[in-house]
């Protein structure tokens, strides 16, 4: 039928090669800390000027998918989130690699990314117009409720509730630096122009996770501890796969749903997925110690977001995240205006992009699996040399995002902060979540109040807000509830 005719151009050697190159390039960009998928797509848009729409757009989609996946490599091996999307992968990926299972950790991440990507691509190809409506339901009140729900992750992620709360509140306080989202007044910038947009997010993450780890390692090196690591293998064991089944499916679905909601993105999705998987697990205490389902949860979610974010873009003309906003520029340059009309006026392009999403995901799997032995060999580098190279990468990565020297101070400052937090048992993850969700929470609270004449009741007026606020209460009370359940069971057994 028509669909097959529209898919045919995808299998021309030239188009396949372009998608493969895009995916590979994205993978490399994502793996390098400081180069994000967004930058990759934006910088290569001029290359698509002379290409046919299907070829050019699918190259960009390849970069996007490869870039979000590539972020897991440096997260797992170096504790340096290559992109913000894979910050949550640090939690289990890095300990797993440190235990000598770097290859299997990367393999798990690759499989999870592929499954997440494919599930979301199926949803994209079959249900895009139907699901796109969800994107339109989200107003200020709904975003506020979603962000509030996201913040409750802090409660369950941090062992010590008080320390977790302190980390989270510190994160929210830090996220208020910069121009006020509603009035534009500068807050806590001390007349330093470089802080006018607040602390830059990626440099902060690099400092918080990577530089702080270098400090910790330097202490260990000083203590003369140098374990020999094995990095062989790439396929997760059968036991690991069967433990991760639920995580993979849950992550893919959460990623798909969050991806459809514009303005949230893969960072949020992977944290929520991680938390839900941990909550559903029979052995939540294993999370954070190098447990494969932890990687499965985050990586399936963040790659599901890629395809899912295309749903509102193609069906409604509204981008689901930053990268798709840039992709929209790519569409406009081709003379194609994304929106409901696109399905009628250019079905070949829409179907071509659906197909391209599948193809790019499969290329990602092939390249990812093939490169694992090469990537994991990084850990064979003597620890002293590796630590020093990470420091260099931290600086390059932090600077290359905005070319703003202030970002370097940000990175170093967060490095020291992260090291101190780790030393005294404060959760870096809680701070990271608050940095992601704080601005979403604040701007939507303020916007909602502005639009409703300061009426707080407007925040509990729709089913979606009630759903998320209900989940928030449940999630915050979960530690108490689960303890009660355990006690009940124990009582019954007696």
């Amino acid at each position: 039928m028509d669909t097959i005719a529209f898919l045919a151009p995808l299998f021309e050697p030239q188009v396949l090669l372009t998608i493969a190159l895009g995916t590979f390039g994205g993978l490399v960009i994502g793996a390098l800390p400081g180069l994000t998928a967004t930058m990759g797509v934006a910088l290569l848009i001029p290359l698509t000027f002379g290409m046919t729409p299907v070829m050019g757009l699918n190259m960009l989609i390849g970069i996007y998918i490869g870039g979000i996946y590539g972020g897991c490599v440096s997260s797992i091996l170096l504790r340096t989130p290559g992109t913000p999307a894979s910050a949550a992968t640090v939690l289990d990926g890095y300990p797993m690699a440190q235990k000598g299972a770097a290859g299997r950790a990367l393999g798990m991440a690759t499989i999870a990314s592929t499954i997440g990507g494919l599930i979301a691509a199926v949803v994209l190809a079959t249900l895009a117009p139907q699901l796109a409506g969800i994107a339109l339901k989200f107003g200020a009140a709904e975003y506020f409720a979603l962000a509030l729900f996201g913040l409750t992750i802090i409660a369950s992620l941090s062992g010590d509730l008080l320390k977790g709360a302190i980390s989270g509140l510190l994160g929210i306080l830090i996220s208020t630096v910069g121009a006020d989202p509603i009035s534009g007044v500068m807050r806590y910038t001390f007349d330093i122009q470089g802080f006018a947009s607040g602390f830059a997010f990626t440099p902060a993450l690099i400092g918080l996770f990577a530089l702080s780890e270098v400090f910790t390692q330097m202490e260990r090196i000083a203590d003369g501890e140098e374990p020999i690591k094995s990095v062989s293998g790439r396929w997760p064991t059968r036991a690991e796969m069967s433990e991760s089944k639920g995580a993979l499916i849950r992550g893919s679905l959460i990623g798909t749903l969050i991806g459809i909601v514009p303005g949230t993105g893969s960072g949020t999705a992977s944290w929520i997925s991680y938390n839900e998987t941990r909550r559903a697990s029979k052995t939540p205490e294993k999370f954070g110690t190098g447990y494969a389902p932890g990687i499965a949860a985050t990586e399936s979610a963040n790659n599901a977001v890629c395809a899912a974010a295309l749903i509102p873009l193609l069906a409604l003309g509204i981008p689901g995240d930053v990268v798709t906003a840039v992709l929209m520029g790519g569409l406009l340059i081709q003379g194609l205006a994304p929106g409901p009309m696109l399905f009628q006026t250019n079905p070949d392009v829409v179907v071509g992009m659906f197909g391209g999403t599948f193809i790019a995901t499969i290329f990602m799997f092939i390249f990812g699996m093939a490169l694992i032995p090469l990537f994991s060999r990084i850990l064979m580098i003597p620890r002293r040399l590796l630590a020093m190279s990470i420091v260099v990468f931290c600086f390059i990565g932090a600077f290359s995002i905005n070319l703003n020297p202030v970002d370097l101070y940000t990175m170093v400052g967060f490095g020291v902060l992260g090291w101190g937090m780790q030393k005294f048992g404060f959760s870096q993850a809680a701070l990271c979540i608050a940095l992601i969700l704080g601005p979403l929470l604040e701007s939507n609270l303020r916007r909602g109040l502005l639009q409703n004449d300061d009426n707080v009741l407007s925040f509990i007026s729709t089913p979606i807000t009630l759903l998320f606020l209900g989940l928030t209460v449940l999630s915050a009370a979960w530690p108490i509830i689960s303890r009660a359940i355990v006690r009940n069971r124990a009582a019954q057994h007696q």
């Binding site: 534009g184 122009q193 406009l332 205006a337 929106g339 916007r447």
Partner: protein, 318 residues
């Protein structure tokens, strides 16, 4: 590739005489775009760089330095060494609005205007489920209650243009700031706000599919994309507004370099292929020389001053 090099070599020999007269540019010219890669300012500057490299024997590199609503990158361009090798994308927000709100380390007087190559026209649109769908109904509605008008950021260009229109038309509006224009657009299509200022390209696609309804165009005359949409001027409100795509640099470049650059941007702006690409992107390609560009900036600044004063944002961050 080899063919290209050969042609290049041949051209180089042919133009060697001319090149000796003024050996600018001897190395790549860097243009600081004060926003992230991928936005309309960035993309249009990349098209300029593309045309520049095609038309001249030189290289132009786009460098993104985002942050502070464009203030950080603009400051870098304005305070760069005045040798003509570091220039900037001249954007309305950071050049005329930011200095008035305060907190910048430059003023409009520190800017050397090289040339404007396009304008981004503005259309006020009614969003999904808005209680009005044409200009007259909009004004009528605004008399009894404040319409909520979304914009891409507090103190940004389209908050100023919406407020400036309201001021001139004698109505009052409730400005609702979002983090970037795509967020505002999402809220508009979802019906969470009443109206917003959009570019003709995005308004066109959205109005064809019934997501938005154009109310009026902020130009002197009706535009080709929306022949049935009135301008504010014809409705008796003397108000026009557009944002610009231009090239700026630091003050103090030597005259020869400046003249060369001004001529170069004029040739780029008149290049057919350049015009076509930029028009496809939804920009209104037009050329204004440095002087006209500066006059435009100063006029916009006066309008902005009035609006900010009314909003009590003048000098707010000083």
């Amino acid at each position: 590739m080899i063919k290209k090099t050969l042609i290049g070599a041949a051209l180089a020999t042919a133009t060697a005489g001319a090149a000796l007269a003024a050996d600018f540019p001897a190395r790549p010219i860097q243009v600081v775009v004060p926003y992230s890669a991928g936005g309309s300012t960035d993309l249009s500057m990349r098209v300029v760089a593309d045309a520049f490299e095609r038309l001249f024997d030189g290289q132009m590199v786009v460098r993104n330095q985002p942050g502070g609503g464009g203030g950080i990158g603009s400051s870098a361009a304005i305070h760069a060494r005045a040798d003509g090798y570091t220039l900037g994308a001249g954007a309305q927000g950071p050049l005329v609005i930011k200095p008035l709100i305060g907190g910048t380390d430059y003023q409009l007087d520190d800017v050397e205007f090289i040339g404007l190559y396009a304008r981004s026209l503005q259309v006020m649109v009614a969003c999904a489920d808005a209680p009005f769908s044409d200009y007259d109904a909009f004004i009528e509605y605004a008399k009894s209650s404040k319409p909520q008008v979304g914009n891409s950021g507090a103190g940004g260009a389209n908050q100023i243009s919406a407020e400036a229109f309201a001021d001139t038309a004698g109505i009052s509006i409730e400005s609702v700031p979002f983090n970037g224009s795509s967020e505002a657009r999402t809220a508009c299509i979802g019906g969470h706000i009443d109206a917003m200022v959009a570019s003709p390209a995005e308004a066109k696609a959205a109005s064809d599919s019934g997501q938005m309804t154009p109310l009026f165009v902020m130009e002197d005359e009706r535009i080709d994309l929306f022949p049935d949409t009135p301008t504010a001027v014809e409705k008796g409100v003397d108000f026009t507004w557009s944002s610009w795509k231009g090239l700026i640099g630091p003050k103090g470049m030597d005259e020869e370099t400046l003249a060369w650059l001004r001529d170069a941007i004029q040739q780029v702006a008149n290049d057919e292929e350049f015009k076509k690409t930029l028009t496809d992107m939804g920009e209104f390609v037009t050329f204004e020389d440095g002087e006209a560009f500066e006059a435009r900036a100063r006029k916009d600044m006066e309008t902005t001053r009035g609006v900010l004063e009314k909003l009590e944002m003048l000098g707010m961050n000083n």
